[in-house]
Protein backbone atom coordinates (compact mmCIF):
# COMPACT_ATOMS: atom_id res chain seq x y z
CA UNK A 1 0.00 0.00 0.00
CA UNK A 2 2.71 2.46 1.00
CA UNK A 3 4.76 1.44 -2.06
CA UNK A 4 1.75 2.29 -4.23
CA UNK A 5 1.95 5.92 -3.13
CA UNK A 6 5.73 6.27 -3.12
CA UNK A 7 7.04 8.57 -5.82
CA UNK A 8 3.75 8.62 -7.77
CA UNK A 9 2.83 11.49 -10.03
CA UNK A 10 -0.67 12.75 -9.32
CA UNK A 11 -2.10 15.76 -11.21
CA UNK A 12 1.33 16.36 -12.72
CA UNK A 13 3.02 16.49 -9.34
CA UNK A 14 5.28 13.93 -7.72
CA UNK A 15 3.78 12.63 -4.49
CA UNK A 16 6.31 11.26 -2.12
CA UNK A 17 4.24 8.64 -0.34
CA UNK A 18 3.39 7.47 3.15
CA UNK A 19 5.34 8.29 6.28
CA UNK A 20 5.24 6.14 9.40
CA UNK A 21 6.23 7.47 12.81
CA UNK A 22 8.83 5.12 14.33
CA UNK A 23 10.27 7.12 17.21
CA UNK A 24 12.34 4.87 19.52
CA UNK A 25 12.98 6.72 22.79
CA UNK A 26 9.47 7.26 24.07
CA UNK A 27 6.32 5.56 22.73
CA UNK A 28 6.33 6.43 19.01
CA UNK A 29 6.64 3.08 17.31
CA UNK A 30 4.27 1.40 19.79
CA UNK A 31 1.56 3.88 18.81
CA UNK A 32 1.96 2.96 15.15
CA UNK A 33 2.34 -0.78 15.64
CA UNK A 34 -0.64 -1.16 17.97
CA UNK A 35 -2.87 0.62 15.46
CA UNK A 36 -2.21 -2.36 13.19
CA UNK A 37 -2.07 -5.03 15.90
CA UNK A 38 -5.43 -4.22 17.51
CA UNK A 39 -7.75 -4.60 14.49
CA UNK A 40 -5.81 -7.64 13.28
CA UNK A 41 -6.41 -9.71 16.41
CA UNK A 42 -3.70 -8.89 18.98
CA UNK A 43 -4.80 -9.17 22.62
CA UNK A 44 -2.84 -8.24 25.73
CA UNK A 45 -4.09 -11.13 27.85
CA UNK A 46 -6.54 -14.01 27.95
CA UNK A 47 -10.17 -13.17 28.76
CA UNK A 48 -10.28 -15.55 31.74
CA UNK A 49 -6.92 -15.09 33.38
CA UNK A 50 -5.36 -11.62 33.79
CA UNK A 51 -1.72 -11.31 32.71
CA UNK A 52 -1.84 -14.66 30.85
CA UNK A 53 -0.14 -13.46 27.66
CA UNK A 54 1.06 -16.61 25.91
CA UNK A 55 -0.97 -17.19 22.76
CA UNK A 56 -2.49 -13.71 22.88
CA UNK A 57 0.39 -11.24 22.63
CA UNK A 58 2.25 -13.70 20.39
CA UNK A 59 -0.75 -15.18 18.58
CA UNK A 60 -0.53 -16.01 14.85
CA UNK A 61 -2.79 -12.99 14.20
CA UNK A 62 -0.41 -10.73 16.12
CA UNK A 63 2.55 -12.08 14.12
CA UNK A 64 0.69 -11.52 10.86
CA UNK A 65 -0.10 -7.97 11.97
CA UNK A 66 3.49 -7.22 12.89
CA UNK A 67 4.71 -8.56 9.56
CA UNK A 68 2.11 -6.39 7.83
CA UNK A 69 3.25 -3.30 9.72
CA UNK A 70 6.85 -4.01 8.80
CA UNK A 71 5.92 -4.30 5.11
CA UNK A 72 4.07 -1.00 5.43
CA UNK A 73 7.14 0.60 7.00
CA UNK A 74 9.50 -0.77 4.34
CA UNK A 75 7.38 0.83 1.63
CA UNK A 76 7.15 4.16 3.36
CA UNK A 77 9.34 7.18 2.94
CA UNK A 78 10.98 9.71 5.24
CA UNK A 79 9.05 12.91 5.97
CA UNK A 80 9.42 15.62 3.35
CA UNK A 81 10.87 19.01 4.03
CA UNK A 82 9.08 21.05 1.39
CA UNK A 83 5.89 22.82 2.35
CA UNK A 84 3.13 22.11 -0.13
CA UNK A 85 0.39 24.79 0.02
CA UNK A 86 -2.19 22.24 -1.18
CA UNK A 87 -1.55 19.92 1.74
CA UNK A 88 -2.05 20.26 5.49
CA UNK A 89 -3.97 22.65 7.69
CA UNK A 90 -7.66 22.73 6.81
CA UNK A 91 -6.97 20.57 3.71
CA UNK A 92 -5.87 17.57 5.73
CA UNK A 93 -7.93 14.40 5.30
CA UNK A 94 -8.49 11.89 8.12
CA UNK A 95 -10.05 8.45 8.35
CA UNK A 96 -10.61 5.91 11.06
CA UNK A 97 -8.38 2.89 11.41
CA UNK A 98 -9.45 0.17 8.91
CA UNK A 99 -10.98 -2.98 10.42
CA UNK A 100 -9.69 -6.49 9.90
CA UNK A 101 -10.59 -9.21 12.41
CA UNK A 102 -12.14 -6.57 14.55
CA UNK A 103 -11.95 -2.90 15.27
CA UNK A 104 -9.29 -1.12 17.24
CA UNK A 105 -7.52 2.20 17.59
CA UNK A 106 -4.74 2.88 20.03
CA UNK A 107 -5.66 5.28 22.79
CA UNK A 108 -3.39 8.29 23.02
CA UNK A 109 -2.80 10.63 25.90
CA UNK A 110 -2.08 9.94 29.53
CA UNK A 111 -4.33 9.68 32.54
CA UNK A 112 -3.98 12.08 35.42
CA UNK A 113 -2.71 10.52 38.65
CA UNK A 114 -2.79 11.86 42.17
CA UNK A 115 0.25 10.84 44.15
CA UNK A 116 -0.94 9.18 47.36
CA UNK A 117 1.79 10.73 49.53
CA UNK A 118 1.56 14.23 48.06
CA UNK A 119 0.87 17.00 50.60
CA UNK A 120 -1.38 18.65 47.98
CA UNK A 121 -3.80 15.82 47.30
CA UNK A 122 -6.97 17.85 47.85
CA UNK A 123 -5.76 20.62 45.50
CA UNK A 124 -4.94 17.98 42.86
CA UNK A 125 -8.41 16.48 43.16
CA UNK A 126 -9.95 19.95 42.92
CA UNK A 127 -7.97 20.56 39.73
CA UNK A 128 -9.21 17.29 38.19
CA UNK A 129 -12.79 18.15 39.13
CA UNK A 130 -12.40 21.57 37.53
CA UNK A 131 -10.76 20.19 34.38
CA UNK A 132 -13.44 17.49 33.93
CA UNK A 133 -16.17 20.13 34.06
CA UNK A 134 -18.10 20.07 30.70
CA UNK A 135 -17.70 23.81 30.14
CA UNK A 136 -13.95 23.64 30.75
CA UNK A 137 -13.68 20.65 28.41
CA UNK A 138 -15.52 22.59 25.69
CA UNK A 139 -13.15 25.53 26.12
CA UNK A 140 -10.20 23.12 26.08
CA UNK A 141 -11.38 21.66 22.78
CA UNK A 142 -12.05 25.13 21.34
CA UNK A 143 -8.42 26.21 21.90
CA UNK A 144 -7.03 23.07 20.22
CA UNK A 145 -7.01 20.38 22.90
CA UNK A 146 -8.48 16.92 22.40
CA UNK A 147 -11.33 15.87 24.62
CA UNK A 148 -13.22 12.61 25.00
CA UNK A 149 -15.87 14.17 27.25
CA UNK A 150 -19.48 13.44 26.24
CA UNK A 151 -20.28 17.14 26.55
CA UNK A 152 -17.84 17.80 23.71
CA UNK A 153 -18.35 14.75 21.50
CA UNK A 154 -22.18 14.83 21.66
CA UNK A 155 -22.34 18.49 20.73
CA UNK A 156 -24.15 18.69 17.35
CA UNK A 157 -21.47 20.97 15.91
CA UNK A 158 -18.51 18.86 16.96
CA UNK A 159 -18.27 16.58 13.90
CA UNK A 160 -17.59 19.56 11.64
CA UNK A 161 -15.47 21.54 14.08
CA UNK A 162 -12.17 20.36 12.54
CA UNK A 163 -10.97 18.19 9.64
CA UNK A 164 -10.29 15.29 12.00
CA UNK A 165 -13.33 15.62 14.30
CA UNK A 166 -15.54 13.02 12.57
CA UNK A 167 -12.73 10.45 12.44
CA UNK A 168 -11.92 11.20 16.08
CA UNK A 169 -15.58 10.74 17.02
CA UNK A 170 -15.77 7.38 15.23
CA UNK A 171 -12.43 6.28 16.72
CA UNK A 172 -13.57 6.94 20.26
CA UNK A 173 -15.94 4.00 19.91
CA UNK A 174 -13.13 1.55 19.23
CA UNK A 175 -10.17 2.66 21.34
CA UNK A 176 -7.95 0.11 23.06
CA UNK A 177 -5.59 1.16 25.83
CA UNK A 178 -2.07 -0.04 26.48
CA UNK A 179 -1.44 -1.77 29.84
CA UNK A 180 -2.85 0.50 32.56
CA UNK A 181 -0.40 -0.66 35.21
CA UNK A 182 1.99 1.06 37.65
CA UNK A 183 4.87 -0.45 35.62
CA UNK A 184 3.56 1.24 32.48
CA UNK A 185 6.96 2.73 31.58
CA UNK A 186 8.79 -0.61 31.80
CA UNK A 187 6.12 -2.35 29.75
CA UNK A 188 6.23 0.42 27.15
CA UNK A 189 10.03 0.41 26.90
CA UNK A 190 10.01 -3.33 26.29
CA UNK A 191 7.51 -2.96 23.44
CA UNK A 192 9.46 -0.05 21.97
CA UNK A 193 12.63 -2.13 21.94
CA UNK A 194 11.15 -5.36 20.55
CA UNK A 195 9.07 -3.72 17.82
CA UNK A 196 11.81 -1.29 16.80
CA UNK A 197 14.36 -4.10 16.63
CA UNK A 198 12.08 -6.08 14.30
CA UNK A 199 10.36 -3.41 12.19
CA UNK A 200 13.14 -0.86 11.74
CA UNK A 201 16.38 -2.72 12.55
CA UNK A 202 15.45 -5.99 10.74
CA UNK A 203 16.36 -8.08 13.77
CA UNK A 204 14.76 -11.55 13.89
CA UNK A 205 11.22 -12.50 12.96
CA UNK A 206 7.81 -11.29 14.11
CA UNK A 207 7.48 -14.44 16.19
CA UNK A 208 10.84 -13.86 17.90
CA UNK A 209 9.96 -10.22 18.58
CA UNK A 210 6.59 -11.04 20.14
CA UNK A 211 7.94 -14.04 22.07
CA UNK A 212 10.67 -11.82 23.50
CA UNK A 213 8.04 -9.22 24.36
CA UNK A 214 6.07 -11.82 26.33
CA UNK A 215 9.26 -12.76 28.23
CA UNK A 216 9.96 -9.07 29.00
CA UNK A 217 6.42 -8.40 30.17
CA UNK A 218 6.33 -11.56 32.31
CA UNK A 219 9.54 -10.40 33.98
CA UNK A 220 7.92 -7.04 34.82
CA UNK A 221 4.75 -8.63 36.18
CA UNK A 222 6.81 -11.14 38.14
CA UNK A 223 8.74 -8.31 39.80
CA UNK A 224 5.40 -6.67 40.55
CA UNK A 225 4.14 -9.92 42.11
CA UNK A 226 1.32 -10.26 39.57
CA UNK A 227 2.48 -13.52 37.97
CA UNK A 228 4.50 -16.38 39.42
Amino acid sequence: MSEFFRGRTIDGKKVYGAYLFTERGSEGITMGVTNVLYPMGFKYQGPKKPHAMDGFVNSPDAMRALDFHKALYKGSTSPGLNKDPNVGGEKIGCFTNPSDKGKGVQLGGQGISVVSYSPNRSEALQYIKWFANPDVQKKWQAIGGSSAANAVLNDPGYAKSSPFAQAFLDSMGMVVDFWAEPSYAQLMLAMQKRTHDFVVADKGTAKEALDALVVDWKKVFKEDGKVK
Binding site: G25, Y117, A185, K193, H196, A201, D202, K203, E223
Partner: protein
Protein backbone atom coordinates in the same frame (compact mmCIF):
# COMPACT_ATOMS: atom_id res chain seq x y z
CA UNK B 1 46.71 46.90 94.32
CA UNK B 2 49.21 44.46 93.03
CA UNK B 3 48.67 43.34 89.54
CA UNK B 4 48.49 39.65 88.67
CA UNK B 5 49.42 39.53 85.04
CA UNK B 6 49.73 35.73 85.11
CA UNK B 7 45.97 35.48 85.91
CA UNK B 8 44.85 37.54 82.93
CA UNK B 9 43.91 35.66 79.73
CA UNK B 10 46.69 35.44 77.16
CA UNK B 11 46.03 37.56 74.06
CA UNK B 12 44.98 35.30 71.13
CA UNK B 13 47.90 34.50 68.85
CA UNK B 14 47.39 35.49 65.21
CA UNK B 15 46.41 32.63 62.86
CA UNK B 16 49.73 32.71 61.02
CA UNK B 17 51.58 32.44 64.30
CA UNK B 18 49.46 29.47 65.33
CA UNK B 19 49.94 27.84 61.93
CA UNK B 20 53.68 28.14 62.47
CA UNK B 21 53.35 25.82 65.44
CA UNK B 22 51.78 23.06 63.33
CA UNK B 23 53.77 20.20 61.93
CA UNK B 24 54.20 19.83 58.17
CA UNK B 25 52.06 16.72 58.28
CA UNK B 26 49.17 18.56 59.94
CA UNK B 27 49.37 21.43 57.48
CA UNK B 28 49.33 19.02 54.54
CA UNK B 29 46.26 17.27 55.98
CA UNK B 30 44.57 20.65 56.37
CA UNK B 31 45.09 21.34 52.70
CA UNK B 32 44.18 17.86 51.47
CA UNK B 33 41.36 17.25 53.96
CA UNK B 34 38.56 19.21 52.23
CA UNK B 35 39.33 17.54 48.89
CA UNK B 36 39.40 14.12 50.54
CA UNK B 37 36.07 14.81 52.21
CA UNK B 38 34.56 15.96 48.92
CA UNK B 39 35.86 12.85 47.14
CA UNK B 40 34.47 10.61 49.87
CA UNK B 41 31.08 12.32 49.66
CA UNK B 42 30.65 12.37 45.88
CA UNK B 43 32.71 9.35 44.75
CA UNK B 44 33.40 6.78 47.43
CA UNK B 45 30.08 6.93 49.29
CA UNK B 46 27.92 6.57 46.13
CA UNK B 47 30.17 3.70 45.03
CA UNK B 48 29.68 1.82 48.30
CA UNK B 49 25.98 2.63 48.22
CA UNK B 50 25.71 1.32 44.63
CA UNK B 51 27.37 -1.96 45.65
CA UNK B 52 24.91 -2.28 48.52
CA UNK B 53 21.89 -1.59 46.27
CA UNK B 54 23.10 -4.13 43.71
CA UNK B 55 22.22 -6.94 46.12
CA UNK B 56 18.62 -5.71 46.59
CA UNK B 57 15.41 -5.35 44.60
CA UNK B 58 15.28 -1.60 45.36
CA UNK B 59 13.47 0.64 42.87
CA UNK B 60 14.01 4.37 43.20
CA UNK B 61 10.51 5.15 41.92
CA UNK B 62 8.93 3.10 44.71
CA UNK B 63 10.47 4.51 47.85
CA UNK B 64 7.73 3.09 50.08
CA UNK B 65 8.06 -0.52 48.86
CA UNK B 66 9.92 -3.09 50.98
CA UNK B 67 13.56 -3.50 49.99
CA UNK B 68 14.53 -7.17 49.96
CA UNK B 69 17.96 -8.72 49.63
CA UNK B 70 18.21 -10.81 46.46
CA UNK B 71 21.78 -12.08 46.84
CA UNK B 72 23.54 -12.45 43.51
CA UNK B 73 20.33 -12.55 41.45
CA UNK B 74 20.90 -9.12 39.87
CA UNK B 75 24.44 -10.04 38.86
CA UNK B 76 23.30 -13.38 37.38
CA UNK B 77 20.47 -11.63 35.50
CA UNK B 78 22.85 -9.04 34.03
CA UNK B 79 25.43 -11.60 32.96
CA UNK B 80 22.86 -13.90 31.35
CA UNK B 81 20.82 -11.17 29.64
CA UNK B 82 21.32 -11.36 25.82
CA UNK B 83 20.36 -7.68 25.50
CA UNK B 84 23.21 -6.69 27.82
CA UNK B 85 25.65 -8.72 25.73
CA UNK B 86 24.30 -7.11 22.57
CA UNK B 87 24.96 -3.69 24.13
CA UNK B 88 28.47 -4.81 25.10
CA UNK B 89 29.13 -5.91 21.52
CA UNK B 90 27.93 -2.55 20.22
CA UNK B 91 30.22 -0.83 22.75
CA UNK B 92 33.17 -3.01 21.69
CA UNK B 93 32.60 -2.12 18.01
CA UNK B 94 32.43 1.57 18.90
CA UNK B 95 35.55 1.39 21.09
CA UNK B 96 37.66 -0.56 18.63
CA UNK B 97 36.97 1.58 15.59
CA UNK B 98 37.03 4.98 17.31
CA UNK B 99 40.35 4.24 19.00
CA UNK B 100 41.91 2.77 15.86
CA UNK B 101 40.83 5.68 13.64
CA UNK B 102 41.71 8.34 16.21
CA UNK B 103 45.18 6.93 16.77
CA UNK B 104 45.95 6.52 13.06
CA UNK B 105 44.59 9.92 12.02
CA UNK B 106 45.72 11.68 15.22
CA UNK B 107 49.28 10.40 14.93
CA UNK B 108 49.43 11.26 11.22
CA UNK B 109 48.22 14.81 11.90
CA UNK B 110 50.69 15.23 14.77
CA UNK B 111 53.51 14.02 12.54
CA UNK B 112 52.53 16.52 9.84
CA UNK B 113 52.11 19.40 12.32
CA UNK B 114 55.51 18.57 13.83
CA UNK B 115 57.13 19.40 10.46
CA UNK B 116 56.67 23.06 11.52
CA UNK B 117 55.58 24.34 8.12
CA UNK B 118 54.45 27.90 7.56
CA UNK B 119 51.18 28.58 9.39
CA UNK B 120 51.32 25.36 11.39
CA UNK B 121 50.10 27.23 14.50
CA UNK B 122 46.96 28.35 12.69
CA UNK B 123 46.25 24.83 11.41
CA UNK B 124 46.84 23.33 14.86
CA UNK B 125 44.24 25.69 16.36
CA UNK B 126 41.80 24.93 13.55
CA UNK B 127 42.18 21.18 14.03
CA UNK B 128 41.60 21.52 17.78
CA UNK B 129 38.20 23.21 17.42
CA UNK B 130 36.02 20.03 17.45
CA UNK B 131 37.30 18.89 20.85
CA UNK B 132 36.45 22.28 22.33
CA UNK B 133 32.76 21.87 21.52
CA UNK B 134 30.13 20.47 23.85
CA UNK B 135 29.25 16.80 23.09
CA UNK B 136 25.57 17.74 23.30
CA UNK B 137 26.05 20.39 20.62
CA UNK B 138 28.05 18.00 18.46
CA UNK B 139 25.34 15.33 18.74
CA UNK B 140 22.66 17.79 17.68
CA UNK B 141 24.40 19.41 14.76
CA UNK B 142 25.67 16.12 13.33
CA UNK B 143 22.05 14.96 13.29
CA UNK B 144 21.51 17.81 10.80
CA UNK B 145 24.69 17.03 8.87
CA UNK B 146 23.46 13.45 8.44
CA UNK B 147 20.00 14.54 7.25
CA UNK B 148 19.53 12.71 3.90
CA UNK B 149 17.80 15.57 2.07
CA UNK B 150 19.76 18.61 3.21
CA UNK B 151 22.69 17.30 5.25
CA UNK B 152 26.16 18.41 4.21
CA UNK B 153 27.62 14.98 5.01
CA UNK B 154 25.37 13.33 2.44
CA UNK B 155 26.23 15.98 -0.13
CA UNK B 156 29.96 15.54 0.50
CA UNK B 157 29.65 11.75 0.27
CA UNK B 158 27.59 12.13 -2.91
CA UNK B 159 30.18 14.48 -4.41
CA UNK B 160 33.01 12.04 -3.69
CA UNK B 161 31.25 8.78 -4.56
CA UNK B 162 28.66 9.74 -7.16
CA UNK B 163 25.91 8.06 -5.11
CA UNK B 164 22.77 10.28 -4.90
CA UNK B 165 22.74 12.25 -1.63
CA UNK B 166 19.21 11.31 -0.61
CA UNK B 167 19.68 7.61 -1.43
CA UNK B 168 21.14 6.75 1.96
CA UNK B 169 20.57 7.79 5.54
CA UNK B 170 23.40 7.44 8.05
CA UNK B 171 21.00 7.54 10.98
CA UNK B 172 18.21 5.63 9.23
CA UNK B 173 20.07 2.50 8.24
CA UNK B 174 20.94 -0.31 10.64
CA UNK B 175 24.19 -0.97 8.78
CA UNK B 176 25.30 2.68 8.66
CA UNK B 177 24.16 3.92 12.09
CA UNK B 178 27.00 2.21 14.09
CA UNK B 179 29.46 3.87 11.70
CA UNK B 180 27.70 7.22 12.02
CA UNK B 181 28.56 7.39 15.73
CA UNK B 182 32.13 6.22 15.04
CA UNK B 183 32.60 9.03 12.48
CA UNK B 184 31.31 11.74 14.84
CA UNK B 185 33.44 10.59 17.77
CA UNK B 186 36.49 10.34 15.53
CA UNK B 187 35.86 13.84 14.17
CA UNK B 188 35.51 15.22 17.69
CA UNK B 189 38.34 13.47 19.53
CA UNK B 190 41.09 12.92 16.95
CA UNK B 191 42.51 16.38 17.83
CA UNK B 192 42.90 15.24 21.44
CA UNK B 193 44.93 12.19 20.37
CA UNK B 194 46.87 14.44 18.01
CA UNK B 195 47.83 16.76 20.89
CA UNK B 196 49.15 13.90 23.02
CA UNK B 197 51.10 12.46 20.07
CA UNK B 198 52.48 15.91 19.29
CA UNK B 199 53.74 16.21 22.87
CA UNK B 200 55.42 12.82 22.41
CA UNK B 201 57.03 13.81 19.10
CA UNK B 202 58.35 17.07 20.53
CA UNK B 203 59.84 15.27 23.53
CA UNK B 204 62.28 13.34 21.32
CA UNK B 205 65.69 15.08 21.54
CA UNK B 206 67.08 16.26 18.20
CA UNK B 207 70.49 14.76 18.91
CA UNK B 208 69.08 11.23 18.54
CA UNK B 209 68.00 12.01 14.98
CA UNK B 210 71.36 13.73 14.35
CA UNK B 211 73.19 10.59 15.54
CA UNK B 212 70.97 8.47 13.30
CA UNK B 213 71.76 10.67 10.33
CA UNK B 214 75.48 10.36 11.04
CA UNK B 215 74.90 6.58 10.97
CA UNK B 216 73.16 7.09 7.61
CA UNK B 217 69.81 5.74 8.82
CA UNK B 218 67.07 6.32 6.23
CA UNK B 219 64.02 8.46 7.21
CA UNK B 220 61.94 5.27 7.23
CA UNK B 221 64.43 3.56 9.56
CA UNK B 222 64.48 6.64 11.80
CA UNK B 223 60.69 6.52 12.00
CA UNK B 224 60.55 2.82 12.96
CA UNK B 225 63.59 2.80 15.27
CA UNK B 226 63.34 6.21 16.94
CA UNK B 227 60.05 8.03 16.42
CA UNK B 228 57.60 5.18 16.91
CA UNK B 229 59.20 3.54 20.00
CA UNK B 230 59.68 6.88 21.73
CA UNK B 231 56.15 8.08 21.00
CA UNK B 232 54.57 4.73 21.89
CA UNK B 233 54.05 5.50 25.63
CA UNK B 234 52.23 8.69 24.63
CA UNK B 235 50.08 6.83 22.10
CA UNK B 236 49.29 4.21 24.72
CA UNK B 237 48.30 6.95 27.15
CA UNK B 238 45.97 8.45 24.53
CA UNK B 239 44.46 4.99 23.94
CA UNK B 240 43.88 4.62 27.69
CA UNK B 241 42.17 8.01 27.99
CA UNK B 242 40.01 7.50 24.92
CA UNK B 243 39.20 3.91 25.91
CA UNK B 244 37.92 4.93 29.34
CA UNK B 245 36.02 7.90 27.91
CA UNK B 246 34.38 5.91 25.13
CA UNK B 247 33.51 2.99 27.37
CA UNK B 248 31.22 5.38 29.22
CA UNK B 249 30.17 7.38 26.12
CA UNK B 250 26.61 8.61 26.53
CA UNK B 251 25.88 12.27 25.77
CA UNK B 252 26.89 12.56 22.12
CA UNK B 253 25.37 9.23 21.04
CA UNK B 254 22.20 9.82 23.03
CA UNK B 255 21.62 13.19 21.40
CA UNK B 256 22.58 12.00 17.95
CA UNK B 257 20.48 8.86 17.70
CA UNK B 258 19.25 7.88 21.23
CA UNK B 259 20.64 4.36 20.98
CA UNK B 260 18.43 3.52 17.95
CA UNK B 261 17.78 2.18 15.32
CA UNK B 262 16.31 -0.68 17.22
CA UNK B 263 19.32 -1.34 19.43
CA UNK B 264 21.93 -0.80 16.71
CA UNK B 265 23.69 2.03 18.56
CA UNK B 266 22.67 1.18 22.10
CA UNK B 267 25.95 1.41 24.00
CA UNK B 268 26.32 -0.05 27.51
CA UNK B 269 25.90 3.39 29.10
CA UNK B 270 22.60 3.96 27.28
CA UNK B 271 21.32 0.54 28.39
CA UNK B 272 22.38 1.41 31.93
CA UNK B 273 20.52 4.72 31.82
CA UNK B 274 17.37 3.00 30.49
CA UNK B 275 17.48 0.38 33.24
CA UNK B 276 18.19 2.92 35.99
CA UNK B 277 16.14 5.97 35.04
CA UNK B 278 13.45 4.76 32.63
CA UNK B 279 12.63 1.29 33.92
CA UNK B 280 13.70 2.28 37.45
CA UNK B 281 15.25 -1.14 38.15
CA UNK B 282 17.73 0.44 40.54
CA UNK B 283 19.09 -2.80 42.04
CA UNK B 284 19.60 -4.40 38.63
CA UNK B 285 21.14 -1.22 37.18
CA UNK B 286 23.47 -0.97 40.21
CA UNK B 287 24.70 -4.53 39.56
CA UNK B 288 25.30 -3.63 35.89
CA UNK B 289 27.16 -0.46 36.93
CA UNK B 290 29.36 -2.44 39.34
CA UNK B 291 30.18 -4.97 36.61
CA UNK B 292 31.09 -2.16 34.19
CA UNK B 293 33.21 -0.46 36.85
CA UNK B 294 35.12 -3.65 37.67
CA UNK B 295 35.64 -4.35 33.95
CA UNK B 296 37.00 -0.86 33.20
CA UNK B 297 39.06 -0.74 36.39
CA UNK B 298 40.54 -4.18 35.76
CA UNK B 299 41.34 -3.52 32.12
CA UNK B 300 42.79 -0.09 32.90
CA UNK B 301 45.05 -1.61 35.56
CA UNK B 302 46.39 -4.26 33.19
CA UNK B 303 46.86 -1.59 30.55
CA UNK B 304 48.72 0.78 32.89
CA UNK B 305 51.10 -2.07 33.81
CA UNK B 306 51.75 -2.64 30.09
CA UNK B 307 52.25 1.11 29.64
CA UNK B 308 54.83 1.21 32.45
CA UNK B 309 56.58 -1.78 30.94
CA UNK B 310 56.87 0.00 27.56
CA UNK B 311 58.01 3.23 29.24
CA UNK B 312 60.76 1.49 31.23
CA UNK B 313 62.21 -0.41 28.29
Amino acid sequence: MPSHPHLLPEPAAPLIARMRGLSDRTVSWLFVGPTMLLLLAINIFPLIWTVKLSFTNFRANRPNADVLGVGLDNYISVLTDPDIWAAMQTTAHFLFWTILLQVVIGFSLAWLIDRKFRGHGFWTTLILIPMMLSPALVGNFWAFLYQPQMGLFNYAAAFLSGVPASSFSMLGSVKLAPWAIVIVDTWMWTPYVMLICLAGLRSIPDHIYEAAEVDRASPWRQFWSITLPMVLPFVMLAVLFRGIENFKMFDMVNLLISGGLGSATELASITLKREAFEKWRTGYASAFAVILFVAVFGMANIYVKALNHVKNR
